[in-house]
Symmetry: C2
Subunit: 345 residues, 2 copies
């Protein structure tokens, strides 16, 4: 199940590939002292300061052989939230934009939607009425737009949509609205023997078609929310048919549960940005021996991206921000800590 | 979550490690013609013949750069059933032996079990009465022996049990009753760039404590049946508490569903031994372009191991055996194809 289309993101791919390849090569084929390696900055889009240092210090500690906090490579598991941590989640989750576009695309086949909520709200662009339809409305939206086809068909729908859809503010494909500093961080961790996973509240099958190309994270290292599927053989070919029933919500207390189900061991580093990531950060950092690292991306840059926290509808950061202070998690001040936000900046 | 005790399996580990390390080194650091590499047999416990050739041919085809059936390394996914495919499943599943032993160990705390089924049946060693308690009885057994503790506590219970429990026929730890030819096959596939996964009907948390040490398969590449868990913070430490509710049964049609949930792409090779593996083999081999490989271990050796198929209570092989002929899956005749069964043979 490889992505079928190629999006115009060659620049970032090239940057990412070299970032990944160079440190790996130097580590495996040549023997370079750690000090020499450090001279080329592995996180060039991060401004110098306490935030960047906390990351570099942690990685140095767990990779220093013979050091008191050394962690064997098989235990170097890092989990990343997606929405708001790796890519933009404002003015709404990308997956919600996808669902709304799907309703519009499917509307000609469903004339009855003109008078039926939550579909009428979507077709009228009336987000207030959509919100009024509540969770029931959203579940109906997901059922119609995310179920009723095979997994292979859904993958093609997602891939096709991402190749044409554009974010309204930045006028770019959503897969370009990924944070350059986080791409560098993913590559830096992998170059230091980490296995990087995504643990998102978003749909697992919505992410998998593109996470390997964009983040370097293969499908088997993506954890997310899911709906149920049914196995059936159709014209001699086995398929998984997507059903309109929720299987698992990988959010809040669901994150450690999903991480345990998929990975089977506790991460030693976790990266999030909202209250939905609180339990993942707790599961990763609390009550454990050895070095652990928790990080929260705080969106503070309305000019280059968005500024939001305790009052936001999407990606609310309230309880987890207070918990960060108590538990000494690193809080990224986006405006101050990031030299640039996107590769195109 | 690393295994805590070390079982006396040093011989096999040493064999396995060298098998894994040598071909990898030769592939990455030196350039050796394929013919020269083939001279050292990667599957020494397999007798020469059609079965062994089918494996070697498949691997050569998908790894030959420029060949018509070449598969890029990221797509080289192989899934293995566990019970009866990688280790012994007679006279009963090892996990069932574990559950029965747990009931006996816990009985002093539960005097009421003496008169209560299915517990009385277990304590009296009356397997007929146990069978009569049906699925309801088995679910009760699982609830009592597999739930009611944290995931960390359960891991320790499993590890402790495996370090002392002995199979009645072979008088050995269960983790020594793994098939030497299959260990070689796992290592051979990995040496050729495959990512090897376990996809078992057995409990995911029952396997993870030891699969890395015994099979070289890390916890994040183990797929199995599971019960639900609840996240809670206890005395400042986050835990996952195991609940007496089935979450997912990774058997029959559940196997492709579990494989899709965990891996997110179709395997190109699958290995099983019973009707429970039918849908995994279909999902892997049917209706797909390119080289695909399906293999069924047929237990035909009552002398060295067991002989069973269409009538067996555990690991019944009936429909899948017929399907193997139709779909050209390789069927291993254990007696004929395997030079030895166990490392201690």
């Amino acid at each position: 199940m490889k992505p079928i289309v190629c999006l115009p993101v060659i620049d970032r791919r090239a940057v990412l590939s070299s970032l990944v390849a160079l440190p790996l090569l130097s580590a495996s084929l040549r023997s370079i002292p750690a000090a020499a390696q450090a001279q080329s900055d592995p996180l060039p889009s991060w401004n110098d300061g306490a935030t960047k240092s906390s990351i570099l210090d942690f990685v140095e500690r767990v990779t220093t052989r013979g050091g008191p906090l050394f962690v064997s490579p098989d235990q170097r598991i890092a989990t990343f939230d997606n929405d708001g941590t790796l890519w933009v989640e404002q003015p709404m989750y990308v997956q919600l934009a996808f669902a709304l576009d799907r309703v519009k695309a499917m509307a000609p086949m469903h004339p009855e939607w003109k008078d039926k909520q939550p579909f009428a709200a979507v077709l009228d662009g009336d987000l207030k009425a959509l919100a009024a339809s509540g969770e029931k409305g959203l579940v109906e939206l997901v059922a119609v737009t995310h179920a009723g086809m095979t997994t292979a068909e859904f993958e093609k729908i997602v891939t096709d949509w991402l190749s044409t859809a554009r974010d309204q503010r930045f006028k770019r494909p959503y897969t370009e609205l990924v944070y350059q500093p986080m791409l560098e961080l993913l590559a830096y961790l992998r170059a230091n023997g980490f296995k990087t996973f995504i643990a998102s509240g978003g749909g697992i099958e919505f992410m998998r078609p593109w996470t390997e190309r964009i983040y370097g994270v293969p499908p088997e290292q993506v954890i997310g929310s899911s709906i149920k599927t049914r196995f059936e053989i159709k014209d001699g070919a086995p398929t998984l048919f997507r059903l309109p029933d929720i299987n698992f919500i990988n959010d809040k207390t669901g994150k450690p549960i999903g991480i345990n189900e998929h990975i089977g061991r506790r991460p030693i580093a976790a990266f999030g940005n909202s209250d939905g990531d609180l339990e993942m950060l707790q599961w990763t950092t609390l009550g454990a021996s050895g070095a652990r690292f928790g990080l929260i991306v705080h969106h503070t840059d309305a000019e280059r991206e968005y500024a939001y926290d305790r009052q936001s509808h999407f990606g609310r950061l309230d309880v987890a921000l207070d918990a960060a202070a108590v538990n000494r998690w690193t809080v990224v001040d986006m405006k101050k800590d990031w030299k640039r936000i996107f590769a195109f900046d």
